[in-house]
Amino acid sequence: MTGDSNKEGNTRAGEGESGGAASAPRTMKFALALLGGVFLAGVVLQSMLSGPGGVSRRATVLAGLAGFLGVMLAGLSKPWRRFLSSIQFAAPALFVLAGFSVLGTLILQNVGGQQLLQGYGPGLSRLIKGLFLDDIFHSLGFAAVLGLGAGALGLVVARRRRYNLRTTGSVLAHGGLILVLAGAGVGMVWGVKGRIDLHEGQETDSLVVPGRDGLINRLPLGFTLRLDDFRIEKYEPDYSLMVYALAGEKQKRLLSFKPGRDPDRKLAAHGLAVTGWWPDYRRRTVVEAAGDAGGGDVLAAARIDRGGKETWLFDEPGREAQAVEVDGKRLLLVWREERARRYLDSLAKMPASPHLLVVDGRELPARPGEEVPLPGGRGRVKILRFFHDFVMDPQTRQPANRSAEPRNPAVEVSISAAGGQESRRWLFARYPDFHGRGAGDELKLSYRYRPGGASRPDAILVGESRRLWSLDAGKLSARAAVKVGGEFTLGRERLRLAALLRPARRRTVEESAGSREVNPLLRVRLPSGRTVDVRPGKPVRYSRDRFLVLAPGKGETVRDYLSTVTVLEEGRPVRERQLVEVNSPLSHGGFSIYQADYRPEDPTYSGFQVVRDPGLYVVYLGFAANLLGVVLAIWGPRWQRRRRRREGGEA
């Protein structure tokens, strides 16, 4: 830096103070040394104070305060005041702060020693640890340097000056930064930051604050917070077909194709073609008349209307008739009267229930809800629930039936042991060993399912003679004529026999249940000519380096996380059903409550960040002062010149 330029700068600045012009580079070097020294002093202090959990936030703030007060004390001497409020100190300080900030993004922050060792090797990681650069922004050294800077800002603000827009701007800009740092310090010392975890219906009157050393403190809120409900709002998924190329470990998306909207030629460029698109795919069986009966056994079908809903009954050659349940009553279609009679005879010989619990090789027929004594006086067992095709619904996390067929029969049973203990378990007909024996449980229990005729029907529709046979405990109790188009009663429900078909034909139709993308399926013809079905979550690899994915086309699927909460004081609700969502916290009793967490596997859970920050408004005041100051300092002189010119012109 030359003396001339310095002089010019000072003249323009109009604030007249700076270090000696000729010794400027030396002064800057001294400033750098001072900043470095203060940082190292902070490092030394931290290594003396530091426990396994690092230093406390209070210590960090105290280090900053020490830096600030140190500068203020030094400022009592005029040469030091001049130096610390000069550009020769300001410029190095700005670069040093920038340098520390860059380091904080280059060095992994707040990771374990092992990860540092892996990332940087033994020598470098020891240096990083030694200088506390692995949590640089909370280190005493950095805080002390910040405090030093804040002190220098204070000296700049306190300087005597002639006030104009520019100097006022300078005071506001620098003073604003002091306020920001002071407010942040207040927040660190007297602020509270913790979390609240609640499930729907739960309430709490405290927040959890993670302490150092992994200890957890509970602090009182001063009120009670109840989570009324939590829901996740989702975007329409808007599925698109993505074509990906594999290149080594990386995947590159070549194409995103929106079925039904994008032109087919987009896909054709990759040798692909869409042959079918169903936003809400389902397969449905359509039954229709199949012309002449001809000889021999053929499929017979009856359509029953139940208040607008249609149900089909089938009598299939070579298979046991499948019953349909109406109001708890079971109805069968048997076409030939003679076969119906034989069926009735066989019923008498079958066990009363399709559910058989097997204990020590003995079959115990059991009906859901009925208690069955266990052999040997070992207590009782009861079927609580039955699923003919058991599956865990991934969305509701509840058991459900996957299909109408008895593919995976399962029962949940409760066992009351002779000693009075109750236990529950699931039994699967197809997996007799699964859950057959609980841990520490001597009872070996398995389950057999005997479908079809074993469950006694309550009525048989005899197609040939158009009669409805009513049964009571498997025995014929009444016969009544039914007409096609006529009505009959089963249980408490009125049914209409809409059609009787023989021979009938079943046809499977693929269709979309609606236009919303609930269960999308895209059928694609591959370059090889083979056709594949692409569904969400099931990528299809069709060549060495290409695969197809049907995925939400717009990335993010969650629109919002919404918690409805109620604030209670002394047991009485004071703020009822308030919405807390991202970007919209709830403030009460000095705390701000932020929507912060959710768990996909636990849909009734919601996590909140809870913050009390007494320094916040000081920080905001600092922001406003800084912004206003920057604008005034930068554009003020221009405005003043323009005004002077205008006034001069007018004069």
Binding site: A98, I107, A596
Partner: protein
């Protein structure tokens, strides 16, 4: 993305490119068609660019500033607008060529991107602060880009440009330093505003106004570098070459903040990294 949008991108690339060519021709010789044609091509490119922004905003029913592709389209528009304002205020066309190359480059990069599809906004971005935060920052980036162009020109030709200077800046001596300084001051005000708006927004969204997220930290670094510029220029009397070098360094920090976050080891936890 629709074919219309792709076509619009290419049209604006072509128009910005044409403007760059016309501004380049002005270096060789001036004529009325060039003086009229260059800003017209710029204006045309800008209109198409803005039309693309607006149509995407309407189509997506959300501010189109989420993906890198979208931000590049915004950046190109900001460069066009900032340059146009600088040409009008300083009556200087000397930065027309680099500024238009920058705008065309941004659009061309946008065109080559694979993230052109509209994506849904995550909950945190659905905030009234989103638009001012992003728009202010990108106008700031554009201003600092123009300052960077002036700095590079200054470093190539530190002496006042004599060749047909009347063509490039009618009636006035070209003062690159003045151009550079004006752009930096404008850019710095916007950086300050963007930084503070971001802090206030973060407080509303997460409860912390500052968490040392890498992008946050780097935007502080750029702010500190340009604060150092202002101090060194106005108080330290820095002029000329070293000031230009400082602007180049500052703009490099801006570009790293914008595009380089993926390269950082600490980027994983950032809320700001483009995919």
């Amino acid at each position: 993305m629709s074919h219309l949008a792709e076509a619009l991108t290419l049209v604006s690339v072509a128009l910005y490119g044409l403007a760059a060519l016309l501004y380049a021709l002005m270096w060789l010789g001036n004529s009325r068609p060039l003086r009229l044609g260059a800003p017209l091509a710029l204006g045309g490119g800008l209109l198409v660019n803005l039309a693309q922004l607006v149509s995407r905003w309407l189509e997506a029913d959300q501010p189109p500033f989420k993906t890198l592709y979208e931000s590049l389209v915004l950046l190109a528009a900001c460069i066009g607008i900032v340059y146009l304002v600088i040409e009008l205020v300083y009556r200087a066309r000397i930065l027309g060529l680099p500024a238009m190359l920058g705008a065309a480059g941004a659009m061309l990069y946008a065109f080559s991107r694979h993230d052109k599809e509209i994506v849904n906004l995550p909950p945190a971005l659905q905030s009234g602060w989103f638009v001012p935060h992003v728009v202010v920052y990108f106008f700031g980036y554009a201003a600092l880009f123009v300052a960077f162009c002036a700095a590079v020109l200054y470093l190539i030709r530190p002496r006042p440009i004599r060749i047909r200077r009347e063509d490039l800046i009618p009636g006035e001596k070209i003062d690159l330093e003045k151009l550079l300084d004006g752009s930096v001051r404008f850019g710095f005000v916007l950086l300050t505003f963007g930084l503070l708006v971001g802090a206030v927004w973060a407080k509303a969204a997460w409860g912390d106004y500052w968490v040392w997220d890498p992008k946050e930290t780097w935007s502080l670094v750029t702010w500190l570098v340009f604060a150092a510029y202002l101090h060194l220029h106005y108080l330290g009397g820095w002029r000329g070459q070293r000031l230009a070098v400082l602007v180049v360094v500052g703009f490099a920090a801006v570009m790293f903040t914008y595009l380089g976050m993926n390269l950082l080891p600490t980027a994983e936890q950032s809320a700001h990294v483009y995919q």
